[in-house]
Symmetry: C2
DNA sequence: TTGCTCGACCCTAACGATCGTTAGGGTACC
DNA sequence: GGTACCCTAACGATCGTTAGGGTCGAGCAA
């Protein structure tokens, strides 16, 4: 792996652990075993490192959704989306952590760009619920905005508790079951 | 209101907006209309301001649960807990935001203290689900840890989208309905 | 009423440390 | 002879914090 990639990986790790403003160029240099001035052979600013990490996060999350076949029922898509998102968080925990909590320290148009990517991702999720309701798989009075908010909250929070190496598919399915079937169960309908 | 309280309010606001490390003592002084050295008549360090905000957050969230009557059914308690949490977030948005995202910048035993308060809060929520399952209000195969995780994720994420002035009770009830009754609805049981 | 003290509040000026970044030069391998 | 990589040394700026001194009004004693 190139030295530059190694640097971006360390950056993701440290930004996730101590935050963007809590991580100094000196910290990064130390992690690379190098003097801090030397880093500028690979990057042009600290902001660059943040942006690269964010862009990688956006790419990974979108790629997860891209792999979901269009022709599946909406509920199946939702289940796969949950699996995909948790999988990304689990095996790129640093990137996912930075993506979720450090985006506000981006500056300029790069900030706008990442915000737009996030919105687009959320909209793709929302579409699944809209489709599920309109095609009769989900309850007809479902508010797709609230439903998507609930799912996105669950997965966006995952970086705080998910430990890498766990079986994230099983966890995703547990979430799916709770969300779709409810916590009450069918034995005692209202 | 005392000058000291005014300072802690501004601190919560700025920490929420720009992060702890992203906010300088100079920023705080400017917000107070004062030279930065003057702040040290009211506090003994920047860490103090963070801790005070965190402690207020912990207090507010716990106080919300304290107001829930013990004798209610578990599902009613869960609904009230959702309401209470969203209410705290909505009318102390800055404090709640700092409480959720900036706790990791606390140092020393104060950090441990706040982490313990958070754990205790989560355990109180978990107990509601355990009670609801054991007393037959919720499905018998309910995993209380997953259920609590789902609810806590939803409300912990709320600071990112909740706008003050909204009717948070109605929002909380929508969440409650989705979580307990499910998104599929009773018309099409498995 | 006057004079005095006390506490709350703020100032200026500086401290040493650390910040992100740059310049210029060096080594080693293809 | 490039290309990739790293060094030392310094830059101006900003960081959190401290020291020492000043102003003002409230409360109290004479």
């Amino acid at each position: 792996m190139s030295r530059r990639n190694e640097l971006t990986r360390q950056a993701a790790r440290l930004f996730a652990q101590k935050g963007y403003h809590g991580t100094s160029i000196g910290d990064l240099a130390e992690a690379m075993g190098v003097q801090k001035g030397s880093l500028y052979a690979h990057i042009s600013s600290k902001q660059d490192l943040l942006y690269v990490t964010m862009a990688e996060g956006a790419r990974a999350f979108h790629a997860g959704l891209d792999a979901i076949p269009e022709e599946l029922p909406a509920t199946a898509k939702i289940r796969l989306a949950l699996r995909s998102h948790l999988a990304v968080v689990a095996d790129q925990l640093d990137v996912a952590t930075v993506f979720v909590q450090e985006w506000r320290y981006l500056e300029g148009e790069r900030r706008d760009e990442i915000i737009a990517e996030r919105r687009r991702y959320e909209e793709r999720i929302r579409a699944f619920f809209r489709e599920g309701r309109d095609l009769g798989e989900l309850r007809t009075d479902l508010d797709e905005t609230t439903a998507a908010l609930l799912v996105l909250s669950a997965v966006n929070w995952a970086y705080t508790w998910l430990q890498p190496g766990r079986d994230t598919d099983e966890l995703a399915d547990r979430f799916y079951s709770l969300l779709v079937e409810g916590m009450r169960g069918y034995a005692t309908p209202a």
